[in-house]
């Protein structure tokens, strides 16, 4: 008989648990990795830059843009 009120309290607490106020803290933006930090281990990276080398990464993108998108330089390079 003594356990009945205790049991009742436990059941009430369990039932009212869903009525608790939700956390209202605003989510904050995560900080992004630097692109020259490189892809995750084991993933493909284009040959030409080492992960973590900013200057090499920038040079890689510059070269890729010129070679891939500027046919005038490619035509001029032909003998």
């Amino acid at each position: 008989m003594r356990r009945a009120p205790l049991l009742g309290l436990l059941v009430a607490a369990a039932l009212l648990g869903a009525c608790a106020e939700k956390q209202q803290t605003a989510a904050t933006r995560q900080l992004d990795d630097k692109p020259w930090a490189g892809p995750a281990a084991g993933q493909h990276a284009d040959a030409g830059f080492k992960a973590g080398d900013q200057a090499a990464w920038q040079e890689q993108l510059r070269t890729r843009a010129q070679r891939g998108q500027n046919e005038y330089t490619r035509a001029a390079a032909q003998p």
Binding site: F49, Q69, Y72
Partner: protein
């Protein structure tokens, strides 16, 4: 390094939608969401022009300015990205963007509007570079692999150029010089007109009657 930029050469674009397809395939963009699209002006009329449009990664991005939860950020390379964990899918950015870049997937039975999705310049999001979580939310991070956006690299006529702004400008300048024309196609002169020699002076606004 300058900021990352796109430019579409309307003299070359043939409206093949290869850029749209490349983007959809590269990032497994959901049905109904188009991070990139091709717009044709004067369609069917001789001399029609097409351009490929996506997020232009504005230097002073209006989407960033209006976002109530501040989910946008700009990387050191000038790429405008957003954090989908913070986005509430309100759509303010969509109203603010002059290019219609922000897209909203419709999920579920009742077409619930999802979190905003847009072109990332193939730079992923705030999750770890190349991680599964990043791919699921934002698509592939090609910049971290030392590559340029898939749309620009797949463009068959090289109408769409993407990359370091200095290089992009250099490539476009070379084309214009070789063609002897083209600088007038897009820019200030096209948007606002040019002064006409000997033309009538612009009309003055009439004084309001009291």
């Amino acid at each position: 390094m300058a900021r990352m930029k796109f430019i579409c050469d309307s003299e070359r674009c043939i409206e093949c939608n290869g850029c749209v397809t490349a983007c959809k395939a590269e990032h497994e963009v959901p049905w109904g969401v188009n991070r990139r699209r091709v717009v044709t002006l004067n369609d069917g009329v001789p001399g029609e022009k097409s351009i490929s449009v996506a997020c232009m990664h504005c230097s002073d991005a209006p989407c960033m300015a209006v976002c109530p939860v501040d989910c946008f950020y700009r990387t050191d390379e000038g790429v405008v990205l957003h954090d989908k964990d913070v986005c509430i899918g309100c759509g303010y950015c969509s109203y603010a963007c002059p290019f219609g870049a922000p897209q909203f997937p419709t999920n579920g039975t009742f077409g619930l509007r999802g979190k905003m999705d847009k072109c990332t310049f193939c730079a992923g999001g705030p999750e770890a570079n190349g991680s599964e979580a990043e791919y699921e939310k934002y698509g592939r991070n090609r910049l971290a692999e030392g590559k340029l956006p898939a749309c620009a690299e797949m463009c068959s006529t090289k109408a769409l150029i993407g990359g370091d702004g200095d290089v992009v400008a250099d490539i476009f300048r070379t084309r214009v010089l070789n063609r002897g024309k083209g600088s007038e196609v897009w820019g200030w002169g096209t948007a606002y007109g040019k002064p006409v020699a000997g033309g009538a002076a612009p009309a003055q606004p009439k004084a309001a009657k009291s």
